[in-house]
């Protein structure tokens, strides 16, 4: 059964601990071991592949050389026939037959090398697919485990005296209150700053004798004396 299917079954079955249904340390170990095994298999197959590919190209080169020699000797035979030297032509023809026999022996060897290259490549591709599949499954399992860990600590931290039925609303209210307080504080300090600048300006104006000036006793006396 795929991991996803297992998860869905666990969820639909109302499993209290969904993680436990899927996260099985033994299963994780098996998956990890399979990945390692397949990676080893791939490494071996690649070694074999390079060997076989070398043999394949060596054989192909030999076959081409023989074909060249056959062509060459066919030319010699034709020339001998043209000169009417039947005996020589026959000798050459025997040589050609030898080469052709050699060729007939080598061709199946080359074919078998080609076949094993193909089969090794198929094996490697299959193992790579398998690894990919296992890795994906493993990461679903590990994520589930991770979720489980998060949930466990969540539950222990939640039991800190907040009533369960309205925890979210209370959190929301507390955060909003705090944000409001911060905003108020910022506003208050802005206002305070503004006032300070106002006051500073006022005192400067006063010093310059502009605006509402403070009544001085001497001024009052001077007024009374009039």
């Amino acid at each position: 059964m795929s991991i996803f299917k297992k998860l869905v079954t666990a969820i639909r079955g109302g499993a209290r601990e969904i993680g436990e249904a899927v996260v099985d340390t033994n299963a994780i170990r098996i998956l990890e071991q399979e990945i390692v095994d397949q990676e080893n298999a791939i490494a071996k197959a690649k070694d074999a592949l390079t060997g076989v590919m070398a043999d394949e190209s060596k054989t192909a080169r030999q076959i081409n050389a023989i074909k060249d020699r056959i062509g060459e000797h066919e030319g010699y035979a034709t020339q001998a026939l043209e000169k009417g030297d039947e005996a020589l032509a026959l000798e050459v023809a025997e040589k050609i037959a030898e080469y052709e026999n050699e060729l007939a022996e080598m061709q199946p060897v080359l074919d078998s090398y080609k076949a094993s290259v193909q089969s090794l490549k198929d094996q490697i591709r299959k193992a790579e697919k398998c690894i990919q599949e296992n890795k994906r499954e493993l990461s679903v399992v590990k994520t589930t485990e991770s979720v489980q860990k998060a949930r466990v600590s969540v539950n222990s931290s939640l039991s800190s005296g907040v009533s369960k039925s309205s925890a979210a609303r209370e959190s929301l209210n507390r955060i909003k209150e705090r944000q409001q307080r911060t905003e108020d504080k910022i506003k208050a300090s802005e206002e305070l700053n503004a006032e300070n600048t106002d006051a500073a300006l006022k005192s400067k104006l006063e010093a310059a004798g502009i605006g509402k000036t403070k009544s001085q006793a001497s001024d009052i006396l001077a007024r009374l004396k009039k």
């Binding site: 991770s146 979720v147 998060a150 931290s157 979210a168 929301l172 705090r178 944000q179």
Partner: protein, 138 residues
Amino acid sequence: MSLKELAIQLSGYIQDGYSLDVLPIQENGNGEISVLQITVEGFDELPIFVTSTDEQILCVTNLFQKEEVKQELLDDLNDTLLQLSVNVPLSSLGKIDGQYVLFGAMSVNTLLDNIAHELVVQSENALEALEALEEFLN
């Protein structure tokens, strides 16, 4: 990046104007850190639980429990969440057992800056999601 390394580097990190607070949680007795509880400044009630595998880092924020939902609106909520999930940047909506969550996953090769950015975005998303879904809650 291992969780331990992540904890060291993210602790006190300032991203997009928010500072990050990291609390490593050792679940089993062998001293191995299995989860990080990360709080983005100002979002103390919506901590993000971070776990990791060989491949990915998973960040989970709890939104609410199934019991907190107005039962008559449950189907409606589930439908809304499925549709909403596609539109939320960098995070998805989901459920772990009876817990509705907001989560994000990223490659373990993600740059620290981007991880931090995603954590901040996730906190903001979580708050906005809660605000938007408030009418479904008790």
